[in-house]
């Protein structure tokens, strides 16, 4: 009752200031006065963000963009309005990590396992993370297809952004078996990954020929290769668990250069960044995480995450950050980026990496990643620099709904 009263009073105050009272329209929000990082142009010192029906309606400067009647106004003066962060490598949005069936499993998918409103996701949004790519683990070379989900939503439709989100390939490390005595080392694994992708490409080409009327006989449907077709159509990327110089090199050569897939390097740690020129040549993006630093035995220098890729020449449009949650907790995504900045990444590049770059890596740049008219209303209000451990999230919006409100829910992080 008291809350209602407060709202009433507030409304009255507003009414007194701005004339006749319009009833609040559901799903309409106006964030006013804060510094707005649109990620689609200059940031706005004192901005206004209008949200309606789950989408960004308009973004402008305070004083220039009027707040229409009926919008619930959130005063963000002195605060920062930042697009919701996008996690490129998450294992906590669904309950299973992975099934180790074969060494390569292109037929598996996480879609049927997504949990709605899991505790993990509640924590994620309290940290300003609004979208995650949930992918299978790295127990096998090809864990299956992941899904892109929002961290808040009441129905599966609201939560699911896209399936397939990406194909998960793990090139080395976890899927390695012994020293070739049983299973595969890196040589065998590369052959198996390439083999199944080449088979998938043949399958895709056979179907394309049929669909374009070049052949009359309809190929048999094979669920094993069906999702691989989207990769060759360029609809979604391959998220590759790859790190260490040699392994990243094989990722870039085999998947990007030879098979021409859209590749996102996940992990990318240790001395993987020495391959930067190969990544640049093949238009590959690099997302780094979890927090593994590289204390070079060669020269005693300390290298950190995406900073090394960036200063080796990978452009600011191709730099990303990931946590590998739960390895690093999901809500520590901005802290992960802070560590990249600590080791030399410019702050602006880190912010792009968490927002518009991540959206682009997932082929979702038209829907997510920036505050622009028509995009999903996913954003967070921060007390300050989001990378500073001292800053915190005040409110998170997902699809235009209040997903987290520190004042309402209590401060989580």
């Amino acid at each position: 009752m008291r809350t209602l009263g407060v709202i009433l009073v507030l409304t009255l105050v507003l009414a007194a200031q701005e004339g006749p009272v319009a009833p609040l329209e559901p799903g309409c929000f106006a964030l006013t006065g804060g510094r707005v990082y649109t990620m689609a142009g200059p940031s706005i010192e004192r901005g206004v963000v209008l949200m309606r029906d789950g989408k960004i309606e308009q973004v402008g400067a305070l004083g220039e963009l009027p707040v229409p009647a009926g919008y619930r106004v959130v005063d963000t003066t002195g605060q920062r309005v930042i697009p919701g962060f996008i996690e490129l490598h998450n294992h906590t949005a669904c309950s299973d990590l992975h099934d180790i069936v074969y060494q390569v499993n292109p037929e598996l998918r996480v879609l049927d396992n997504i949990e709605l409103d899991s505790p993990e996701m509640r924590i994620a949004r309290a940290g300003g993370v609004t979208t995650v790519l949930s992918i299978p683990g790295s127990g096998t070379n090809m864990g299956g297809f992941g899904a892109i989900v929002k961290t808040f939503g009441e129905t599966p439709k609201e939560v699911l952004v896209r399936f397939p989100g990406a194909l998960k390939i793990a090139q080395a490390g976890n899927p390695e078996r012994g020293n070739g005595d049983l299973g595969a080392g890196r040589i065998g694994m590369n052959w198996m990954i390439r083999n199944v992708l080449v088979e998938g490409r043949a399958y895709h080409e056979a179907w394309c020929a049929f669909e374009e009327g070049k052949t009359k006989t309809q190929p048999a449907k094979d669920p094993r290769y069906e999702y691989l077709r989207g990769l060759y159509r360029g609809e979604y990327p391959v998220a590759v668990h790859t790190q260490i110089f040699q392994v990243v090199q094989s990722t870039l050569r085999m998947l990007a250069r030879d098979l021409k897939l859209k590749v996102v390097i996940d992990h990318g740690e240790f001395d993987g960044f020495i391959n930067a020129q190969l990544a640049i040549d093949n238009n590959v993006s690099a997302a780094c995480g979890p927090r593994i630093f590289w204390l070079s035995p060669n020269d005693g220098r300390f290298f950190g995450l995406a900073a090394s890729w960036y200063w080796m020449g990978v452009s600011d449009d191709h730099i990303g950050v990931n946590t590998d949650s739960p390895v690093v907790p999901q809500e520590e995504l901005p802290y992960q980026a802070a560590m990249a900045i600590r080791h030399g990444l410019p702050e602006g590049v880190a912010l792009k990496g968490l927002t518009i770059n991540a959206a682009r890596f997932l082929c979702l740049e038209k829907r997510l990643g920036s505050l622009e008219t028509g995009k999903d209303a996913d954003l967070a209000i921060w007390t300050g620099d989001p990378f500073d451990p001292r800053s915190r999230v005040l409110m998170t919006f997902v699809n235009g709904k209040v997903a987290y409100d520190a004042a309402r829910d209590g401060q989580r992080f």
Binding site: L295, P297, D299, G300, R301
Partner: protein
């Protein structure tokens, strides 16, 4: 500090030998000829080695050199045409080869002496030797003969006072198991010690040094027949002699301190009894080597792991100015190669010789390859290389390792000295081997080029004047 004679001979013989050698040395300075006036020497068979070049170490490089060898000793070294060769000499024509002293290995674990340098613990093995453990195999002796090493020190291992160092030389390989005695020349040549920093090991060394010093002062007092003197370390350095121990935190707490301070036993007795005439202090065979080391009668080698350990060793060196063993950096605990460069000032101040593996240092946080040997030598710290090889096979790499250091700035002459004369001096054999000069053992190696050039091959090895390996006459 060097001992002129290695064989176990009586004191008088020892003295005689010393006099003889000194005499020949003086004589050699005047006439660079083989002891011409000595009838016995004149009659003895003499071999004249004619070589392209000789690296004498102590007397520079001599082109077109002649080395005269008689009775296993070098009797003269000089230039072809200048040095007079006795008419009855036989000739070794090796005019295309270069000669250098054989390498001296100051810390070997061959022939079953040990597995690795174990630094832990604080055993007082004193006069124990490794001789009983040695078990050379036929193949090993063959490898040894071809290694280019003409002297090796076989080391006892283990933390504390590890025991006595045995000196071995290679012999011409013969069929069947070799006689151990044919290899060994001395089994009490030096004292080996090992120190791993710790409270117990530190106390062990400090107490041992104190005991040894007390024995020396007591013995002196006994010989003088006077009062037993208070044991005083030699020239204690006031600032460092006393490790800062009395700290406020360690002070007894108020109220807990015992009301009556007990006086040390000795003091009480001194008050009660009249001083007796001093007794001869009892000789402790376990302690005696350390006593000898403090009196500079026996060389010592102290094994430590690296620079950090040396900082802890400084407290031991500060305890007695005569406790100056050569310090061997095993590098076992250090992953960036020998790191003695970190403590070069301390090493210089202590005035010790450093034994170290012939390696570059590549240390994280330093970022560059550095030549520890060059740094030490430039600072005036003598360096002796101790090949890393634990197996005889590995010795073949030794020259390559030296070459690597030369490539990185170590002067080849410095490298050669650190592999020959300096290790010999560390073992007290500086007057016996390690250089090509009159009176030294005829221990040398013939190469087909400069000893430290990449394409050079080892051609022949001569020990005590005998050719024990000759590649031109053997199937390899």
């Amino acid at each position: 500090m060097t001992r002129p004679v290695m064989d176990s001979v009586s004191d008088s013989l020892r003295a005689l030998a010393l006099t003889l050698i000194l005499a020949t040395l003086v004589f050699a300075q005047e006439t660079p000829e083989p002891a011409a006036g000595d009838d016995a020497a004149a009659k003895a068979p003499v071999v004249a080695w004619h070589v392209k070049r000789a690296h004498t170490i102590t007397g520079g490089v001599i082109d077109a050199a002649v080395i005269l060898v008689s009775n296993g000793k070098i009797t003269a070294v000089g230039k072809e045409g200048v040095l007079e060769v006795p008419t009855h000499a036989t000739h070794e024509e090796r005019r295309s080869l270069t000669v250098a002293p054989g390498f001296v290995h100051p810390a070997a674990l061959f022939f079953g002496a040990g597995e690795r340098f174990d630094l832990s613990g604080s055993a007082a093995k004193g006069d124990e030797t490794v001789r009983g453990k040695l078990d050379p195999q036929e193949a090993d002796v063959k490898k040894f003969a071809r290694s280019g090493f003409t002297t090796v020190a076989l080391m006892p291992t283990g933390g504390g006072v590890s025991g006595m160092v045995t000196i071995a030389k290679p012999v011409k390989p013969v069929a069947g198991l070799p006689e151990i005695g044919s290899l060994i020349r001395d089994d009490k040549a030096a004292l080996a010690m090992a120190f791993e920093p710790g409270t117990a090991t530190r106390d062990f060394f400090l107490k041992s040094i104190e005991k040894a010093r007390k024995y020396i002062t007591d013995l002196e007092a006994f010989k003088k027949g006077g009062k037993p003197a208070e044991a005083k370390p030699a020239e204690p350095k006031s600032a460092e002699a006393k490790p800062a121990e009395a700290k406020p935190a360690d002070a007894p707490k108020e109220g807990e301190a015992k009301p009556e301070e007990k006086k040390p036993e000795g003091e009480k007795k001194a008050e009660e009894k009249k001083p007796e005439p001093p007794k001869e202090p009892q000789k402790d065979p376990k302690l005696q080597p350390l006593v000898d080391a403090l009196e500079a009668k026996l060389p010592g080698v102290l094994f430590i792991s690296g620079a950090a350990a040396f900082l802890h060793t400084e407290a031991l060196l500060a305890a007695d100015a005569s406790f100056r063993p050569a310090v061997a950096f095993t590098g076992a605990a250090f992953r960036g190669g020998p790191d003695a460069w970190r403590v070069v000032a301390g090493l210089k101040k202590a005035g010790v010789t450093v034994l170290m593996p012939p390696q570059m240092s590549n240390v994280p946080f330093i970022a560059t390859l550095r030549s520890t040997a060059a740094i030490l030598l430039d600072a005036g710290v003598p360096v002796a290389f101790m090949p890393e090889a634990r197996e005889l096979e590995g010795l073949e790499r030794f020259r390559g390792e030296l070459l690597q250091l030369v490539r990185h700035g170590l002067h080849p002459d410095d490298a050669l000295r650190a592999a020959t004369l300096t290790p010999a001096e560390v073992l007290g054999l500086g007057q016996r081997t390690g250089s090509l000069e009159q009176g030294r053992d005829a221990d040398f190696v013939l190469y087909d080029g400069e000893p430290l050039a990449p394409t050079t091959k080892l051609i022949a090895v001569v020990v005590d004047g005998a050719v024990i390996h000759d590649a031109t006459k053997e199937d390899r």
